[in-house]
């Protein structure tokens, strides 16, 4: 997605009081998918007459301020008219306070809008977010635009701003937006979530159920098989001189093939047998324990009619049965302990 290239320019600074000077260091923006998802969700929930919606971005800043990580976002109500814009600042402040209560480590880093356009209102809002006091000053505020126009690609851009102004009274609603590079980054933990979400991408109803471990394994294996197929088809067509050969591609494939470990068959055999036994023993024991637990509860709650008595058994008898269940489970213990030995 980041096919643009960027040139870091020191942004021009406005007149500031002596003391903490704002940084001019290059800035890199990292966006977590949660934030984008929040923005997209907000965009869907906008009022009918609204063309774009805005909200606050929260995240963390690296110590030297050169990297901003956008972690979450919340919506802020606003309305735009011909000549004025109203942003619910009271709402923004309250929501920020609520959010910081639950995420004490996150700070205000900027704001987003769901249209690519930058206009006077953008500058006005940008100046609020980057201002002193409630804003991000002395750090630059990040402005993220995510275009959500129907029928077009989603386009994300990140900007920071520098004050410009022809006259003093126009300074509040003008700003020079400087594009900065951004990167979409997701962690290991997000991966399984994104995988499941991506499963639904080709479904007509845009929904999917959560797959079990074995199902996702099956899918992964199928994918690998199809990739191997593709590569071998390519190699065959090169051998048949139907496709132009590429040294680089050949080298790459050779490197990949060289990754296969060279192990003695006997070693493999031994390791395999050791491991498979461990795995199966643990599985067997876990199931034994489960069965015994199940048995004990069934015995404890079963409506037994002993002999011709017919009456529901008194507590004493119930106790005996529970005791029996208990013994069963104790029987499971020594065997369970053996698991440890097998693993050790």
């Amino acid at each position: 997605m980041a096919e643009d290239s960027f040139l870091h320019l020191a942004r021009p600074l406005g007149p500031v009081s002596v003391g903490t000077a704002p940084t001019t260091a290059p800035l890199n923006v990292v966006i977590q998918p949660q934030a984008i998802f929040s923005i997209l969700d907000h965009s869907l929930r906008r009022n009918v007459d609204q063309e774009r919606v805005i909200g606050t971005l929260l995240g963390t800043r690296s110590e030297d301020g050169s990297e901003v990580e956008v972690r979450s976002a919340f919506a802020v109500g606003h309305s735009e008219a011909e000549d004025q814009v109203e942003v619910d600042m009271e709402y923004h402040k309250q929501m920020l306070a609520l959010h910081l209560k639950a995420n004490p480590r996150e700070v205000l880093v900027g704001w987003y809008a769901t249209a690519s356009e930058l206009n006077t209102f953008s500058a006005l809002i940008q100046n609020f977010y980057s201002g002193q006091g409630d804003g991000t000053w002395p750090h630059p505020a990040v402005h993220l635009t995510v275009s959500t126009e129907a029928g077009k690609d989603l386009e994300t851009r990140a900007y920071i701003s520098a004050p410009v102004g022809v006259t003093a009274e126009r300074a509040a609603d003008s700003a020079a937006f400087i594009p900065v590079p951004y990167e979409l980054r997701y962690g290991e933990a997000d991966k399984s979530g994104l995988e499941s979400i991506a499963n639904a991408k080709d479904a007509e109803d845009r929904s999917t159920s959560i797959t079990s471990d074995i199902e996702s394994l099956e899918r992964a294996i199928e994918e690998v098989l199809s990739m191997v197929d593709r590569v071998s088809r390519y190699v065959e067509s090169v051998i048949d001189e139907e496709t132009p050969a590429s040294t680089a591609m050949g080298q790459f494939l050779l490197n990949a093939l060289a990754l296969a470990p060279k192990v003695e068959p006997a070693d493999i055999e031994r390791d395999f047998n050791n491991h498979i036994q461990d795995v199966l023993v643990v599985s067997y024991l876990a199931n034994t324990v489960r069965t015994q637990m199940e048995l004990s509860t069934r015995l404890a709650t079963a409506q037994l009619t002993l002999g011709g008595g017919g009456e529901a058994p008194a507590t004493g008898e119930g106790n005996q049965r529970n005791q029996r269940g208990g013994k069963n489970n104790q029987g499971g213990r020594p065997r369970q302990d053996r698991t440890e030995e097998t693993r050790a």
């Binding site: 949660q34 998802f37 290991e188 690998v224 040294t247 068959p265 395999f272 461990d278 795995v279 106790n319």
Partner: protein, 392 residues
């Protein structure tokens, strides 16, 4: 139901439809269909993952909001509960060891979530509380905290609420684990009156699988997210690809960086031991707990037996005494005085052992599902490294 409308040709079909829908919604309001499924938006999935993995390995909890549409609970947004940080120096004896686990039913958080929901309503988010979520580590979510939280939600706030459980460690080693639970009506009734003696359990036929009802979870993407995911996966450039000039060019090309989201090829990695070891530890812990419970119960039975013996001895003595008194024509002594003299011990609650049983069940199933995929992987690897063996 719509019979009368068909006999009325002048009425336009649109209005017929709305009337029928109205009627249906009216009847729905009277007898709401039981919750059958849970549909989670991609946004919620990501937010929960973020929150849970941030606080891992300690528990994270939060609220979920959404809407109940004809028995399907649509969860469209979520927010975390603030955690009251207890300073390390101050040691309260009765403070919960993990404040986050008890957060959903804490008073301060009720105010917090009410406030948050009010704020969310202003930006057109579905502003109904439909439950809460918690993180889990290796399926260890069956505990009193979860039960009490869900009981609080189902009894105090809204009957139609669910608990979403996101298992961080299982998601890290395989596919996403997100499950939705509710307390069964049977268990709710028992928990309300705290009836957990073996007699009560027997009468209600309440067993450990009856504690929770699991609802099927579906993920749902909005149109925008669908197109975002599509864009994320395939490079946007449509220019025909040319063969790379060198190895370096190939490695720096966008294709080598492009990571596919689904299927997750990390699933193929073969690491068995850490997972099984952790699971065995947990299982052993549970069995330990079970033993303690059994010992408690046996102690109770011994005490009960002793008391019963004493009572019987007393009864016999009194009967003999009365017999002699009868022969001597003296007034008989009352025979039920033992109820005053002896006190039977109270039976310990069976709830803990029930939960523990469910937990063991959980672990065992987890091992099962893990073993099924890892044995497959192991045989595949063996087959690959020893191709001669498999052909035999």
């Amino acid at each position: 139901m719509n019979g009368p409308f068909h006999t009325n040709p002048p009425s336009p079909p649109v209005s017929t439809l709305t009337t029928v829908q109205l009627l249906q919604s009216l009847t729905m309001a009277e007898i709401p269909a039981p919750l059958a499924a849970v549909q989670v938006e991609a946004l919620v999935v990501m937010k929960i993952i973020k929150h849970c993995s941030q606080t891992f390995p300690s528990t994270a909890t939060g609220a979920i909001v959404g809407m109940d549409v004809d028995g399907t609970l649509e969860i469209t947004n979520s927010f975390p509960f603030p955690v009251v940080e207890v300073p390390a120096e101050s040691h309260f004896d009765n403070a919960a060891p993990n404040p986050a686990a008890a957060a959903p039913r804490a008073k301060a958080n009720a105010a917090y979530s009410a406030e948050m929901i009010r704020m969310l309503r202003e930006v057109n988010t579905d502003a109904n509380s439909v439950g809460w979520y918690t993180s889990a580590n290796m399926g260890n979510f069956v505990n009193m905290n979860v039960i009490e939280n869900q009981f609080y939600y189902q009894s105090q706030l809204n009957e139609r609420t669910v608990a979403l459980v996101h298992d961080v460690s299982r998601s890290a080693q395989g596919s996403l684990s997100l499950r939705a639970f509710r307390l069964s009506p049977k268990f709710m009734a028992a928990f309300k009156e705290n009836k957990f003696t073996s007699e009560d359990l027997q009468k209600a036929n309440l067993r450990h699988p009856d504690i929770f009802e699991e609802l099927p979870v579906k993920l749902h993407n909005s149109h925008l997210i669908t197109s975002f995911i599509h864009q994320l996966q395939s490079p946007t450039s449509t220019a025909s690809t040319e063969l790379p000039a060198s190895l370096a060019a190939l490695e720096s090309s966008p294709f080598s960086k492009n990571s596919t989201l689904t299927p997750n090829l990390d699933n193929l990695s073969l690491s068995i031991d850490p997972f099984l070891e952790k699971n065995c530890d947990l299982l052993l812990d549970s069995i330990e707990t079970h033993n303690t419970e059994v010992n408690n119960y046996q102690y109770y039975q011994r005490v009960l037996g002793r008391e019963q013996q004493k009572i019987n001895a007393w009864k016999q003595k009194r009967a003999q005494e009365n017999a002699t008194r009868a022969t001597l024509n003296q007034p008989l002594l009352p025979e039920d005085e033992w109820q005053r003299l002896f006190k039977l011990p109270a039976e310990p609650s069976r709830l803990d052992s029930m939960l523990n049983t469910l937990q063991v069940d959980q672990y065992a199933r987890q091992v099962d599902s893990f073993v099924s995929s890892s044995t497959g992987k192991m045989f595949a690897i063996k087959g690959n490294l020893l191709p001669n063996e498999t052909s035999n």
